[in-house]
């Protein structure tokens, strides 16, 4: 049994005077895929933002590799890849420029690898086109290209399948499954019907939380 990457202990979250969840405890182990489930407004996005370190609206303990996350902020951030609702793509820059800028603060890499990553998301030939001329699905693919070069052990993916076509969704399913086989951990939310073998479920319902292993 390997050490958990991320551990949540008695996590509680209240937003705008409404309690989304409480006493939520779980561990994210390496080589696992976890799907966060719940109805609209149940706090899936908020939970992922809390795990990523974007939201302060929580109480409880979050441990990264056994240490309080706040104490190891930078090393934690280096190890986590978060993709949110908003893809983080500048409409005025080309896919390649966007990718370069996104990687710069973490792990700069040559254009060759990035171009290849873009090509594998189906954006070959679009490298130099400003992203505002791309469709929503194509912009999403630019953001997803990071997954093809990412070395972060933990991926937090919030609604990444939005506006991706069916074949794209299937390819991403594969990617996540392979990532888990390599030993990476993936936590994701989606309203798509996604089938990844061995997926753990973390269900958020108001007042009660189930986590099945």
């Amino acid at each position: 049994m390997s050490e958990p990457l991320l551990q949540a202990i008695n996590l509680q979250c209240e937003r705008d005077g409404r309690e989304l969840f409480r006493d939520l405890s779980f561990s994210i182990l390496p080589a696992t895929v976890t799907r966060v489930e719940g109805a609209n407004g149940s706090g899936k996005t908020t939970l992922l933002r809390i795990l990523a370190g974007l939201s302060n609206a929580w109480a409880g303990d979050l441990l990264w590799c056994g240490e309080q996350r706040a104490r190891v902020r930078e090393s934690f951030l280096r190890n986590v890849l978060y993709l949110g609702h908003r893809p983080g793509i500048k409409p005025l820059l080309s896919p390649l420029e966007n990718l370069r800028a996104l990687m710069a603060g973490r792990r700069p890499m040559g254009d060759k690898a990035l171009t290849q990553a873009l090509a594998r998301t189906g954006l070959a030939g679009y490298e130099q086109v400003p992203c505002r001329h791309l469709s929503a699905g194509q912009q999403r693919r630019v953001a997803l290209a990071r997954l093809l070069v990412a070395d972060e052990p933990l991926w937090l993916l919030d609604e990444v399948f939005t506006s991706i076509d069916a074949s794209g969704v299937a390819a991403i399913e594969n990617l996540l499954q392979e990532r888990a086989a390599e030993g990476g951990a993936v936590v994701f939310t989606t309203h798509h019907n996604v089938q990844i073998a061995g997926t753990k479920r973390l269900v958020l319902t108001p007042g009660a939380v189930g986590y099945d292993d």
Partner: protein, 82 residues
């Protein structure tokens, strides 16, 4: 007493209007602030005193999640009923 009469006290040798205007504004604003804060607290106390169920801003009780507020059906609404 620094003044000979009550009239002299009010007049303050011609500076009365300035002095009394300043004090007036001071007392009025402080009174508004104090009475306003006091009333507001009492209003809040009153609303806390009301039975729990009658307050609309409350979040659903934890034990009510077995019956969520009617699952969405997305059936069309008959607009001719009014």
């Amino acid at each position: 007493m620094a003044f000979d009469s009550f009239g002299a006290f009010l007049a303050m040798e011609g500076h009365g209007p300035y002095v009394w205007a300043s004090y007036g504004v001071f007392f009025v604003l402080m009174a508004v602030l104090m009475v306003g804060s006091y009333r507001r607290r009492n209003a809040v106390l009153q609303s806390c005193r009301q039975p729990a169920g009658s307050r609309s801003s409350r979040a659903p009780e934890p034990d009510s999640d077995t019956a969520p507020a009617a699952a969405a059906s997305f059936t069309r609404v008959d607009v001719s009923q009014d």
